[in-house]
């Protein structure tokens, strides 16, 4: 019995290391002083971080990534929160179908979605534009916001809204002073999740970017396809750093495991 338990624990530890190891090796590799990437790194230097600042395409891609992730998060949170409120609060027939419809972009492969949007956007003159890119990213972010806000509303006590209304507050005041503060953690989690979804995306973005407008993951992707350069390691470390900060906030608010566990059971 005891030895079986130990065996199980050992296997579990190996799997967890297997999951984490590709991220763990990237950071030390970024401090290499050689001009090819390797793990363990050869020597130690910050040269690939200073090099990063001398490469305008990376700086520009970074700015684009953050800008579009913020915009995609903002719009998907606005649309998603309104939609989730409507589903949770009102007796709309076919609620279950409605929820699956609004989360359906998740069940279509991102590759197929990217192909569909590229073909659809081209005659509309939206292909390769920042508007097209943003629209595509809002589509992939909406399902997560819907899910997180619906979860946040599941324990919501509508008597509080009713009480405010009886005391004379108009619907806007009720929403602003009662509903919103109570579901704020769910909305913030939804926003953070949307930000990360957009910030990390490669597959849909590949069909939406143009030579003048690229994001950080796209820049990493093409660097990896053309030539392997230690600069990929320093950019990747930067991406990990940003992601970890947001993951910590998300964990405090919602629990990262719950977000994924609840979404696929």
């Amino acid at each position: 019995m005891k030895s079986l338990g130990k065996l199980r624990m050992a296997a579990a530890v190996i799997t967890i290391i297997y999951i984490l190891i590709p991220l763990i090796v990237v950071i030390p590799a970024s401090f290499t002083s050689a001009n090819y990437p390797s793990f363990p790194a050869e020597g130690f230097s910050f040269q690939w971080y200073t090099e990063l600042l001398n490469r305008p395409e990376f700086v520009e891609a970074m700015v684009n990534s953050v800008k579009f992730a913020l915009l995609a998060a903002f719009f998907s949170v606005v649309f998603g929160t309104l939609g989730a409120l409507a589903i949770a609060k009102y007796d709309i027939p076919g609620k279950a179908y409605l929820t699956s419809l609004l989360t359906s972009p998740l069940s279509v492969p991102q590759l197929v979605l990217g192909i569909a949007l590229l073909i659809y956007f081209t005659p509309m003159m939206l292909a390769g534009t920042s508007t097209g890119f943003l629209l595509a990213h809002i589509v992939i972010c909406i399902p997560y916001v819907i899910r997180l806000v619906l979860t946040g509303l599941s324990g919501f006590d509508y008597n509080l809204e009713r009480a405010a209304a009886i005391l004379g507050a108009n619907p806007v005041v009720v929403f602003w002073k009662v509903t919103l503060p109570l579901i704020r953690p769910a909305i913030i989690s939804g926003g953070l999740f949307a930000f990360l979804t957009s910030f990390d995306n490669v597959t849909v973005s590949l069909f939406m970017v143009s030579p003048d407008m690229r994001t950080l993951p796209i820049e990493i992707f093409s660097q990896m396809q053309d030539a392997y350069n230690p600069i990929v390691a320093s950019v990747s470390s930067l991406v990990i750093f940003i992601s970890v900060i947001l993951i910590i906030i998300l964990e405090k608010l919602q629990g990262v495991g719950k977000v994924f566990g609840g979404s696929h059971s």
Binding site: L23, F39, F79, R162, F260
Partner: protein, 315 residues
């Protein structure tokens, strides 16, 4: 004023005492709720229709259109795109390769995931939370970054080959990068967390007294595992396998970076047709072949289990 009346009405409706009220409830609720609810839903519904449903239907329509040589579309509906796919051995072998690699990924993920899920089920909620954080966080870091990590590890003179050689297991470096094995490693690493969480969820639902009962009746821990825990976790196993399989079938980035031209999986072929060759109608058909193959495999797999030896578990 409208909302106040609305709330007051709901209050009356919640009184379950009189039969008249009960009968009135659904009618009243429907009439009152539709207006504002629909207004809130309108933006997101329009958005999803306009930028998701319509584009998806549009490429389905395009897949039945035949393109002539110069790329102009003639409005002739035909199954030519699909016929071309299923008569060309290049595309068929790509489809088979995709299914094969996805199956390997599912099997490897299942084997690696189960011990973690079991450990989570036997731990306190606090420890469960920590494990969930460790395994789910990588999902929030871009896949290109995780692929770059694997690149460093799988290089001919990388960590894995060095370790295996110094242990004397192999004499010459294995070709891990740009091979099917590399793609399976990359994919399983990316989708393992989903498998773990799916299995863990079904393990949480098992009544712990069942295992105690079987121990009291004299079953060894191994016997208890195989006749109680494993069958009862089948719904989690099946949903985890379905999820990992579907994700692997349509993954583009990992096959492109870890396999390259050596592993032409369907998504890589579809990307090439669309972005490089600009064959949109054929690319659309490939997309729907990919979707249909995934869906059919998933349905057959799920049905087999739901009607198999342990069908009661799925109720």
């Amino acid at each position: 004023m409208e909302p106040v009346r609305h709330y007051a009405d709901q209050e009356i409706n919640q009184e379950p005492n009189t039969g008249a009220n009960l009968q009135k409830t659904p009618k009243n609720k429907k009439r009152r709720s539709w207006g504002p609810g629909l207004l809130l839903l309108l933006p997101i519904l329009l958005f999803i229709f306009g930028f998701f449903i319509v584009p998806m239907l549009y490429i389905l329509y395009l897949s039945f259109i035949t393109t002539d040589e110069i790329g102009g579309t003639t409005a002739a509906y035909s199954l030519k795109n699909y016929a071309q796919f299923f008569t060309d051995s290049y595309y068929l072998s790509s489809l088979w390769l995709t299914v094969k690699i996805s199956l390997y990924t599912v099997i490897l993920s299942l084997l690696l995931a189960y011990p973690v899920a079991l450990t989570m089920a036997k731990s306190s909620p606090r420890v469960r939370g920590y494990i969930a954080l460790l395994i789910a966080s990588p999902l929030l870091v871009s896949i290109v970054v995780r692929n770059f990590g694997w690149y460093l590890l799988l290089l001919p003179n990388g960590t894995i080959n060095q370790t295996l050689m110094s242990l004397g297991i192999i004499n010459a470096p294995l070709k891990l990068l740009f091979s099917e094995l590399g793609v399976v490693i990359g994919l399983s690493n990316a989708y393992l967390p989903f498998m773990i969480l799916a299995i863990a969820t079904s393990l949480y639902n098992i009544d712990p007294s069942l295992e105690k009962a079987s121990a009291i009746l004299g079953a060894s821990p191994l016997r208890s595992f195989f006749s109680i825990t494993l069958p009862l976790s089948l719904p989690g196993i099946v949903s985890g396998c379905v999820l990992v399989f579907s994700l692997s079938m349509s993954a583009y980035v990992t096959p492109a970076l870890m396999g390259g031209a050596n592993v032409p999986m369907m998504p890589v072929v579809a990307y090439d047709q669309i972005n490089n060759l600009l064959r949109w109608t054929f690319g659309s058909a490939i997309s729907y072949v990919l979707l249909a193959t995934t869906l059919i495999t998933v349905i057959v797999f799920t049905r087999t289990f739901e009607r198999g030896k342990f069908k009661e578990v799925f109720r």
